[in-house]
Amino acid sequence: MVVDLDQHLKPGKSSYVAIGLEGSANKLGVGLIRHHPGQLSLSNRAEVLANIRDTYITPPGEGFLPRDTARHHRNWVVRLIKQALDEARLGKDDIDVICFTKGPGMGAPLQSVVIAARTLSLLWDIPLVGVNHCIGHIEMGREITGAHNPVVLYVSGGNTQVIAYSKQKYRIFGETLDIAIGNCLDRFARTLEISNDPSPGYNIEQLAKKGKHFVELPYTVKGMDLSMSGILAYIDEIANTLFNKKNAKPLQNEEGKNKNKKNNLCFSLQECLFSMLVEITERAMAHVNSNEVLIVGGVGCNERLQEMMKIMVSDRNGSIFATDERFCIDNGIMIAHAGLLSYRMGDTTSLEDTVCTQQYRTDQVLVKWRDD
């Protein structure tokens, strides 16, 4: 059965336009998307009208704190919305719906963005749709890559989940039991005092490319789930003994030997974490009898992860789908896209329900726009 997505097209309009506001972590994103009537397909694709992002970057060795991140978002949100509208050459009359991230994420940054969403909704008299951040990633990944019914590996700074669709829910097959993979990499970057620009994960990836020697680390797959805090504590200790002791050379003074050690540690951490991900993804594929894998989320940009996943998937004669940094890393367009799908099914969020929530699981959302 095919879902009818066009019961709510406004009279006199030939397409839908949504604006999406994302600010659940240190990235602030604003996106504008257009859908044409009918099912989305390879010949009827969503049109990206604008997709801009501003990242709050902290100094090396420091993470982003909720209060400072919220301040960053508040400073930029109106400017970014304006810029996105200018880029798309659209005005308020062109927009059907304002989508925002309802959760999961950090409370203060989420709240600072939803304030702008509410104000504009009331000012322009346009309905709001609250979007689950993870659903945003999944739907945008499917739309960009054309993956039909993939096992989704969602890996980012705050989330690590293996997800598959069944009966109008994206169900979580496996996930982290403690910290997220991106969090693990970011925190190790802090230990090594690697730059956070453009992102700590990207810089670890570059160092790891030069690493050759594998340092044995704990391997902690627990059934379908993972645990990563122990690995982080273990490798942090190695790094601290190597670099941060009184007699050790200071970290900033990157001479030959120390540099190599750093590269090898980054390399080993990536290899260890990514093999764990590949293992649970493979098992999920076997469970749901799927041979497609879609990687979404910020860590999904990592080329080594994509490569390792590809080796596993090609052994199973399957295909792997991944996107580039525009759609992998948190962005506004995915919120606009997922929100618009939900709007086309007749959903809007009333003002009283726009309170953001830090905890909002992927399988809490009823996926009305799919019925397979």
């Binding site: 109106v78 304006k82 709240q111 600072s112 702008a116 509410r118 104000t119 322009w124 009283e352 309170v355």
Partner: protein, 85 residues
Amino acid sequence: MSFTSSLTLNIPFQLQNQASIALKTLSVDPILRPDDAKVSYLISYISNCHYLHIDLYAISDRVLRVLANNIIASLKTIVECFDEF
């Protein structure tokens, strides 16, 4: 526990609509610790100006300060939206 600290913010707006949008936008978010603080909003029209009155009550000056800070920060975003759009 009784609220020992209090503060009133009087924010002037050009239009009635603006004051009411600000009120609706702000009042949605619940107070995280209702036992520690309370907020009430009121709109009035005094000498050609629409005012949003925000009454804040809290159990200590510290809680009051954090609350007022948050509300003012949100108000800044709201006013910026009015200015730009």
